[in-house]
């Protein structure tokens, strides 16, 4: 993928964090293994990170570190640690779901973390202007894939649209796709909406914390 990368030394320089912090956060799982990308350069092997993700994560760790211990932070941020015990009765209180999410809800109460992430995906699509029926596709897709919520790094959920124009017939199909990046559609289809699962899972985690 042509994801924008940043070299490790530039991360350190820009953020002012130390090697010690970086390695400590990696050990704790606050920076996922998958973000460490080793590449050959003119000067030998170097480590790169997805620019936006690493800079956002370091910002989050720093702003939360004031009030939380590192171990608590792991619970909040580490993608592998999906909260097991969440039962949320009013998902619309969470910013990533919000009022838009109401249309997508399928029960009154007792939403688990995975189900909240599914709702948030749908709400994300609704906000971008997709129709409720299409957003529901995303919700169903993510609901059925629990393992994705637990390890969302590098996974994308998307809505694709394909137009078939025949004689006297024009059909537009929308499909939901869930998979590891790089996710590609055929050339006659277009991506209607794309959700970074890692980001959305994280937003739900942070929102849960705010509500609590």
């Amino acid at each position: 993928m042509d994801e924008d990368l940043i070299a490790k030394k530039d991360v350190l320089e820009q953020t002012g964090i130390s090697y010690g912090q970086l390695y400590r956060w990696k050990r704790k799982g606050l920076i996922p293994e998958a973000w460490f990308i080793r590449k050959a350069t003119v000067t030998g092997q170097e480590t790169f990170f997805p620019r936006e993700k690493i800079l956002t994560r370091i910002e989050q760790i720093r702003s939360l570190k004031e009030e939380q211990s590192l171990d608590e932070l792991v619970q909040i941020l580490a993608p592998e640690s999906a909260p097991e015990t969440v039962k949320c009765d009013d998902p619309t209180l969470l910013a990533p779901v919000g009022a838009e999410g109401r249309k997508l809800m399928w029960k009154d109460r007792g939403y688990t973390f995975g189900e909240l992430v599914a709702l948030a995906c749908g709400a994300h699509a609704l906000r971008a202007g997709t129709r409720p029926a299409e957003a529901k596709l995303l919700v169903d897709l993510v609901r059925a894939a629990e393992e994705v919520v637990r390890a969302p790094t590098g996974i994308t959920a998307l809505l694709g649209e394909k137009s078939i124009d025949g004689e006297g017939l024009a059909v537009r199909l929308t499909v939901g796709v869930l998979g590891h990046e790089p996710v590609r559609l055929d050339r006659e289809s277009r991506v209607k909406h794309r959700v970074d699962m890692e980001k959305i899972a994280e937003q739900v985690k942070l929102a849960l914390r705010e509500v609590a």
């Binding site: 030394k9 320089e13 130390s18 090697y19 010690g20 912090q21 970086l22 390695y23 400590r24 990696k26 050990r27 000067t43 030998g44 092997q45």
Partner: protein
């Protein structure tokens, strides 16, 4: 729930389960996953299945074919773990081999430690020999070199690698190398830390804030941000200040 105790002192075989104490002083085999308060192997013990225990002591020969989780693992004999190890405190004065990766808090090596993949701890100290196939990462890495140690990468806050103490009595390490005296060395691909002190180390790249390259080192490239000191008996290819 406190399980029963088992003790094998002749030759025996038990199935997995939940136990208080497991003692093997003869030759014993445990089939299946085990949870125990304490496991002591002074003879030869083989565990086939995952093992979870508060304390594991191996003074004979212990073999674990799967993952091991423990608060404390003390090896003075020979201990092989084929899977990953999640051990808060590891003290090895014998031979410890881990086929997967190690994750824990404190590691003290005075014998031999071999880890096929990464070793992650808060504190790593060694006065023995180690070989780490992946990344050795700790807040504090304190090594007194005995024999030849290796790691693919070392990363952390304070990294302190010292040659064996004979050197401080004024004889030259470089000369020692030339005569092939049995002095410990470290060979590593990459070292990254905030404060790095190296002796008798061969590395491709060293990156750090404050870097001290001591006698007997051969470093391809040093990248530093605050200070760099290089001993006259060290070789450094490139020096880059950021």
């Amino acid at each position: 729930m406190e399980g029963q105790n088992i003790s094998i002192s002749g030759s025996g075989r038990v199935s997995g389960g939940e136990y208080g104490q497991v003692r093997i002083s003869g030759s014993g085999k445990v089939d299946g996953d085990v949870t125990a308060q304490e496991i002591r192997v002074s003879g030869s013990g083989r565990f086939q299945g995952e093992v979870k225990a508060k304390e594991i002591t191996v003074s004979g020969a212990g073999k674990f074919t799967s993952r091991v989780e423990a608060d404390v693992l003390v090896t003075s004999g020979s201990c092989g773990i084929d899977g990953d190890a999640e051990v808060k405190e590891l003290r090895s004065s014998g031979a410890q081999r881990i086929g997967g990766s190690f994750h824990g808090h404190y590691v003290r090596v005075s014998g031999v430690l071999h880890v096929a993949r990464d070793l992650e701890a808060d504190v790593f100290t060694s006065s023995g020999r180690f070989e780490i196939g992946g990344l050795l990462s700790a807040d504090r890495v304190e090594v007194k070199l005995v024999g030849d140690s290796r790691a693919r990468e070392i990363g952390g806050e304070n990294i302190d690698i010292r040659a064996s103490s004979g050197l401080s009595f004024g004889f030259s390490l470089a000369r020692g190398f030339r005569f092939g005296l049995g002095i410990g060395t470290l060979t590593v691909g990459e070292v990254e830390g905030d404060r790095v002190h190296l002796e008798a180390t061969t590395a491709d790249v060293v990156r750090g804030k404050v870097v001290h390259v001591g006698p007997g080192c051969r470093i391809g490239r040093v990248e530093y941000s605050e200070s760099l000191e290089v001993h006259p008996e060290a070789e450094v290819g490139e020096r880059i200040k950021r």
